[in-house]
């Protein structure tokens, strides 16, 4: 991650007004952010917290009521800067009457890309997002997940330096989510800056370098994910194959050194990890497997006998 600032907002404020100009909603309040080249930055918050508004302000789709935003050190109204930006909107706002290839060619022509290069990129991106088999179907026939994929492909058509993704995993199944997350990480590896918004905490936790937590338009927290998630006054010790005696001794040592609120249990994995592991195993060994509830039922039957 470099120290070059790609996005900077100063006192960025947005108030939505009604027809008569009366303030209706204050969507964003004096947001100050600096996002650096090469980082994955997450905008986190519940619905209506101002995440999408921030992204729209950065793209010039909305005008700030107060303050300013700079991208590549240029005002957001400068159209030329969009040559270096990729954007995936919250929903897949794409033209449903075009097919995948036509869609990517349409967006590709908006950039300064030669026809040969564009054709190459279109083929590559369709392959990358896994739509090779459906590239000649109109988008109106696509599922929501497929639409997100083609949406992501259009955001990458210009090989952008800055990628703005508004809830990129919304509507995707866990496999799709995982693939998108891998893709985002790949892009970061290539030195690109990624800003994504969402409210799925696990997704954000997995991939973001830094996050900003917004609530009702106000910035509540900002920092590195690892720093924010670390509970400074709790120490966790992980070990394998300890006997009960060894555990008792350890607890005794901790007590002697003034430790408290001690809990001893087995660590759990995340649901996402479990799901992925099961799917991977299933692909390797097809066929019905005994699930946890089946095992519990078998034990109950045996107990009755």
């Amino acid at each position: 991650m470099s120290h070059e600032v790609i996005i900077e907002t100063r006192n960025l404020t947005k108030v939505y007004r009604d027809f008569w100009g009366r303030p209706k909603v204050q969507a964003l309040k004096a947001l100050d952010l600096r996002i650096h080249r090469g980082e994955i930055f997450g905008l986190l918050g519940p619905n209506g917290s101002g995440k999408t508004t921030t992204i729209k302000l950065l793209l010039g789709l909305l005008f700030p009521t107060d303050g300013e935003a700079l991208i590549f050190n240029e005002p957001t109204t400068n159209v030329a800067k969009n040559e270096r930006i990729g954007y995936l909107p919250e929903e897949s706002y794409l033209y449903k009457f075009l097919n995948a290839e036509e869609t990517l060619h349409f967006y590709g022509r908006l950039f300064k890309i030669s026809a040969a290069e564009r054709t190459k990129r279109v083929a590559h991106l369709i392959d990358l997002v896994g739509l090779s088999g459906a590239k000649h179907r109109q988008l109106r026939e696509y599922s929501k997940g497929m639409q997100r994929r083609i949406g992501l492909a259009q955001a990458l058509i210009n090989n952008p330096e800055l990628i703005l993704l508004d809830e990129p995993t919304s509507g995707l199944d866990p496999i799709g989510t995982s693939e998108i997350k891998s893709l985002i990480l790949e892009q970061r590896e290539q030195g690109k800056t990624i800003v994504l918004s969402g409210h799925l905490l696990a997704d954000m936790q997995d991939i973001c370098d830094r996050i900003a937590i917004l609530h009702r338009g106000e910035l509540k927290e900002l920092g590195k994910v690892s720093d924010l998630l670390t509970v400074q006054d709790v120490t966790q010790i992980k070990a394998r194959n300890l006997t009960p005696n060894a555990i008792a001794e350890i607890q005794d040592v901790i007590r002697r050194h003034g430790g408290e609120n001690m809990s001893v249990d087995h660590p759990t994995t995340t649901l996402e990890e479990l799901f992925l592991r099961i799917v991977q195993e299933s692909e390797l060994h097809p066929g019905r497997r005994k699930v946890a509830e089946d095992a519990a039922r078998d034990q109950a039957v045996l107990a009755k006998r």
Binding site: P89, Y93, F111
Partner: protein, 835 residues
Amino acid sequence: MSGFLTLPLLWAQAGAAAPARPPAGAAPVLNIPPQWIPALKWLYLSGDPTFTTNDLFGGFLTWLKAVSLLCLIAWIVSWLVIGVKERVVGQGRWYDYIGVLALLLTPVSVLLRVLESVHRIPVYTVMGTHLTAYTALACVLAYLIWIEIAIGRTIKKLGRPLDVAVLIGVHLALVFGMAAGVILQRIGFLALIMGAGPNVQISTLQGLIYGVRMSGTFMGYIVFARIAIRCLNELWGVRGRRLYSIGVLSWHEANRRMWAPWVVLTVFLLVLAFTHWFLQPPRAAEMGRLYVGTLSLLCSILLTVMITVLAPLSLPTDIQQQTIYTVVSKPTRRLELIWGRMLGYMALVTVLMLVFGGISLAYLWKTVYTTIETTEAQALKAKKENRLTEAKLLTEQAQQLRTRMQARYPVMGSLAFLDSRGTPHAMGIDVGQDQSMRQPRSHIEGATPSAAIWSFGVVPDPFTRPGQPPIPLDRRIPVSSFLQEGTIESALDRVYALQMQIDADKQAKTQANLPASRVSQLDAAITRNQAELDRLRAEYDSLRKRADDFLAQSAKAQQAGHLDEARQLKLEATKLSSPDLLVEMSFNVYRTTKGKVGEPVYAEITAVNPRTGREYLGDVFAVKEYYTNRAKLPAWLLAGSNGALRIEIRCMTPTQYLGMAESDLYLLLPPGNFGFNYMKGLFGIWLQAMVLTAIGVCAGTFLSWPVALLTTIFFFVAGELAFAFLVDFSRQAIMGGGPFESLIRLVTHDNQMSDLTPTAGVVLAKTLDSLVMPLMSMIVYLVPNFQALDVTNMVADGFAVSWRLMGVNTLLALAYAVPFSLAGYLILKNREVAA
């Protein structure tokens, strides 16, 4: 407001601009050095909203003035709206109260004026001026104060440095205009242009008021420049690939989402399939006109309806479905969004037009041309069977049908009249309402020296005001198009031209104090031209001799009974001569007495070459009412004419009158291809579609699709069906008052002419009319003249659509389409697409 109302109507048609009133003739009365006069003329030309020149530059200047004034109004209104919405003004400060006071005082002032005019209250005067004038002035001042403060404060708070510069520029332009008005008054120029004469004093106040009027134009230029700079900046970034991309998107959208071209094509084919069921021409000769007119109308309706629906739906749908987010977040310029859409739709219109044109021509070929051939065959059969009257009728029918299915190029002259005493006039006898028509039609009296004279060449405008230098009109005949190269007449034309050149050189030599070098130059030219003349004369004599020989041999062959050989020889002789000049005439007859039933009115045609003096006396012919008369003039008449000719028509029947307008007689150039002319006619519909697309897309930038659709429909209906009414409306030439007064007349069954009793309702209606009429009059400057772009009637009448007309119409269409598309860009640029 009067300045706006009196603007010349370029919006209506470039040719309708006010004619020039050059003040050059009065230069000696001005109290300034002569070198200042050109600058003054430019000042006057560029500042006065009602003055222009009668040429292409004048048309452009008028367009610029109208657009600049609209820019100024839009600039003021937009800053006021921003100021109110952003709470910069309208917060209950002292100047807001002044604004409210003006708003309240305006209807009161108008009401007082109306009460005065209907004599419900006496006319109060203070120091010789009406009290209502003071109240009106107070309103204007109050508005000015509020507007000045509102705009100043808003720009100070929210504007950029360039906006501040524009604000300063506008004020400087105001001062400049007022100063110019006073200066023009002081040096006597104002008296001159107002036609007051040198002895009439124009007051300083009048000069100041005139200056304010000019200021409006100058202030408009400043705002126009600001907008032009912004648009040029945007234009600099426009790229063809993005326009193409958005164009392709629009194309696919129309095809796949709306199915528009397929629907239109299906309707076209369906209507065409049953056309012959319900299209019955009133006369057989009208068949071509009816079919061509109907097919053009069908194309026009289908294409304009398609565009009226497609264009205003595109952007609002894009915004509503938020698909625009992914487009504007790319390096797409707002102007590209507008022009790209227009490009896509116009590509669609072009393809459909070519398809419709092709199908229509095939249909016309199958119906009209088949009818012509059948009629000609019937005529031939009737002639063979000695049914001569029927044969003549059928031949006439076929000829009329053929005439309509051509692309005739008329060469128009300038019409003037001689009255029954032989005195020249610009107009003939007025027998009724014909004078108020678009082309005034007047009459000549039968069996008197009265005559209608069509003059060709560079001729003086017969409508030049008495005492003013005549305005020359260029009505020259393209001689080379009539006299074919290598013919007797062409050789004779060159002989005349050379002879005239030699005579001119000899005349020049007779001038006193001519330098010796010039004399030797002229001598050399005369000698050279004389040798060439001798050669040409020999060539001419040789051609004549060959023609005479062919004719003599033909006569001998005929006597010997070798008819084929005689015909061939005669044909050879004909080839050596240029074909006769074809003249078409369509006069109407005004009968003072019924005369004998069925007896025609007769007329006589004579033609004179004014340069050679050679004259041709034509036959007396019966005037075909409601049909076209044709006459032939020998080609030799044009030899040596240099494009000049005079054709005189006299009515030979006593006590009857022959009516004519300028376009009722013309020479015909060889006709062009009908199919090509039909496609040129469809180009007029293409231009209509282009303007409509610009309006639709512009409306879609800030309105929801139903409102944008209604707006586009309104513009089309107003421009196509009600443009003449709107022009009269803007000139306040509609009888019966404004909309509210008309409503009262409608309800009370009062006619348009009678004065209404000044009841409270009438006074209220007149007051409301006075308030809304000036605002409504502005519409005429926004509504395009769709009628002017439609030239399909010319095609249906069998006349060629000239390239010049197409060029003028293209400029006219662009004069509307470009401002509308740029207005759309400015609106889209300043709106939040994601709001």
